[in-house]
Subunit: 435 residues, 2 copies
């Protein structure tokens, strides 16, 4: 060993919920292993909680004053698992400004304020680590930031929200409708009392912003992410998906998009989409998460595991903590995200997607050709058309080739106004196909 | 930026095969991106080749004298993609001893000499990075070394050799026999002219040694790995597997094993085994690789992608190169492997496994109970027995619970000697089951 410091590394943990409790447990149970891996003892200096009381840890470790805890001279690293924006942000900034490293799982905060936090870390040579903020235990932040640092990432597609994946998987296997399945997910502990952040895609959008920032070396915030949730997905949509050898997944998509002006932009979006059963993401079911990364030299990589929960998230926090502690012992600083590329965000309307359109039509000659003409009018090329049923129940199912989202939306709007189209019953995007 | 050095980082590339050619291409084509990510230009100082000539790169970069190239004052990082033991090892040691960082894809060398190389890196505060040595583009070295640094890894199971996975997948889908499929793999470029290193499991054993070292913080060399290849796998074995809702995969297994003496040991082994179709590794087909890591807090993680080939391997090399260069610019050193745990290696005989045994038996009363008694004699608990056929074609198919490999081997030997057991037609280990 090249004369490592023997000073212990002091850690403050902010928050004692599911993740904080697991972090504290690992710190205490694995102290010997952690010391051997870091090269110095890691010592828990204190835990900030909102209210004191019996929390299953030594009482003298607890404090309701996180500011004083972070400011202690013997605290070198702050683990932030409070969640929410304030006081988390203020505490993290004050730690970083004092040269203390920060490990956080706070995706909502990172999606909006990574710039400010990263700048403070850079200026004071501290580490800002956040592996736990995306997909829990699954290592994806570090692979994007380090392993693929010499490659060019073209696309990231992920299932990054366990609640919605649990609901969509259950709808797929039971045939039940959305509201019924959401209620069941709540009973089983897979959905929160207020499920809005999950089911409306806000949580996935935060993670998409973080993934896109890392993948494309560009600062992306949650406001840059186009977002649709799963609350309008019906049992019929899942049935349609099955008929097409597909399933429906809430996807976080980050892609490079080349505009007609030759300018490279990035598209970052979250929405439920049809995914072919042959795609590796289709078999990711229940509360699991998975992320597919497509890079120029590496090809397609997939990372799979538990995306949430106290222990899996704590595993990611602890990996970051050991690395930050090691940097404190040996000097230096881990790699930070880089945002030199500053690629512009493509408007959703300019983003190339594929649509699957299901409509009830009048059963008479010429309908198919009239519908096809409508797609052609908007320059949308059709991949397949299927006519089903007859009489009142006649349906047309159209799957398009890739076109801009605005051309597709305009086509659908125009179809609805046609006299022989009785109803456009569903419109779903299709992702994960080779075309 | 905290006043980064603007000195360029000089790189020497040793070897210009598939991987070296891709590394040189990326260095030249992506120079601007790489400079932005590193904080300084990365400059290719030279490429060591065995013979000069038109290699598609500027002639003045080529040299047949790797020692002088490595020794150049303006070389900061050495990328070793020669392969083989010498001169690669000597060159890497001379680089590390001069404080130059080394990035390598050389699994055979690492499996035997990581100790010596890591010590030189440590003493001279240089980086020794080798993400490309295991499973090509798939980030697994860095996740094990960093992301899981605060967790406890219990088991690593991987498909880490593309040639054997291609052969076994093809045997499964075509029903063809081993030698025929090997020949076809050779024709398609998936097997080398001398396929021994792949088909006999030597390549997988090198990778298993590296994975086990990282997972268990213990120095494991190729000699510690129990190894069987796939050359004795037959079309019948694949048919048997299908009948059991399994397939056959060449697995690299690294596990913690608790001995009867209460001592924790590690078992590192490579062999073909039955894998249930429901296991995530069963669907990894063709030349793809995948690695499942089971850790106490993280649960089960899977990493999937291209395990070989010039471009995917170069992606991993480039990630390491960017990180090593960044460390040169900003000071400090990346995390190294740690071997503090020094766990002993469990002998194969003491390792708990499951067996699937297929035997031809005399079709008469009492055979089943006599066979069951034979298993009981060696303390091997039976999971299922199936009797098939009748008369001359009567067969018993036994699947055991977990028992030590030596007890299972002794049972099979003893069965063969029983008068009413005509032939033990196949013995396959079973992995990836929950029991």
């Amino acid at each position: 060993m090249s004369a490592p410091s023997v000073h212990p590394i002091g850690v403050a943990v902010l928050g004692l919920g599911n993740v904080g409790t697991e972090v504290v447990r690992i710190l205490q149970e694995n102290a010997g292993d952690l010391e051997a891996r870091v090269g110095a003892p890691i010592v828990l200096r204190g835990i900030a909680v909102r209210t004191l009381g019996d929390r299953g840890v030594a009482e003298e470790l607890l404090t309701t004053d996180p500011h004083s805890l972070v400011a202690r001279d013997d605290v070198d690293i702050v683990v932030e698992v409070f969640g929410g924006i304030e006081p988390a942000k203020e505490l993290m900034l004050s730690a970083l400004n004092a040269g203390k490293s920060v490990v956080t799982a706070n995706k909502a905060l990172l999606a909006d304020y990574t710039g400010e936090l990263a700048e403070a870390a850079e200026n004071h040579r501290a580490d800002l680590y956040f592996e736990a903020a995306v997909a829990g235990a699954i290592p994806v932040v570090r692979p994007l930031m380090q392993s693929l640092a010499g490659d060019r990432v073209d696309r990231v597609i992920g299932i990054v929200n366990g609640t919605t994946n649990f609901i969509l998987s259950a709808m797929d296997s039971t045939g039940a409708d959305y509201s019924e399945t959401l209620a069941e997910a709540g009973r089983l502990g897979y959905a929160e009392a207020d499920p809005t952040a999950d089911v409306e895609g806000y949580d996935a959008a935060s993670k998409a912003a973080i993934l896109a920032s890392l993948a494309f070396h560009t600062r992306v915030t949650a406001a840059d992410v186009y977002r649709e949730g799963i609350s309008s997905i019906t049992a019929d949509d899942l049935a349609t998906a099955r008929a097409l050898d597909c399933t429906v997944k809430l996807l976080a998509l980050c892609e490079r998009v080349l505009g007609e002006d030759g300018q490279e932009r990035i598209s970052v979006r979250v929405y439920p989409a049809l995914v072919p059963l042959s795609h590796p993401l289709a078999s990711v079911s229940g509360a699991f998460n998975a992320i597919v990364v497509e890079a120029k030299a590496a090809g397609r990589l997939m990372f799979y595991g538990q995306g949430a929960g106290g222990a899996p998230t704590a595993s990611a926090v602890m990996g970051d903590l050991v690395m930050a502690a090691r940097n404190k012992v040996f000097g230096g600083r881990g790699p930070a995200d880089s945002t030199y590329a500053k690629l512009p965000i493509a408007p959703m309307g300019d983003t190339p997607t594929r649509y699957h359109v299901n409509m009830q039509v009048s059963d008479r000659a010429g309908v198919l050709s009239a519908v096809a003409a409508e797609f052609a009018k908007f320059d949308v090329s059709i991949s397949t058309v299927r006519q089903e049923g007859a009489g009142e129940h006649a349906r047309l199912v159209v799957v398009t080739h890739r076109a801009t989202d605005s051309a597709l939306a305009a086509t659908v709007k125009s179809l609805s106004s046609l006299e022989f189209v009785n109803d456009v019953t569903s419109v779903l995007r299709l992702e994960g196909t080779s075309e």
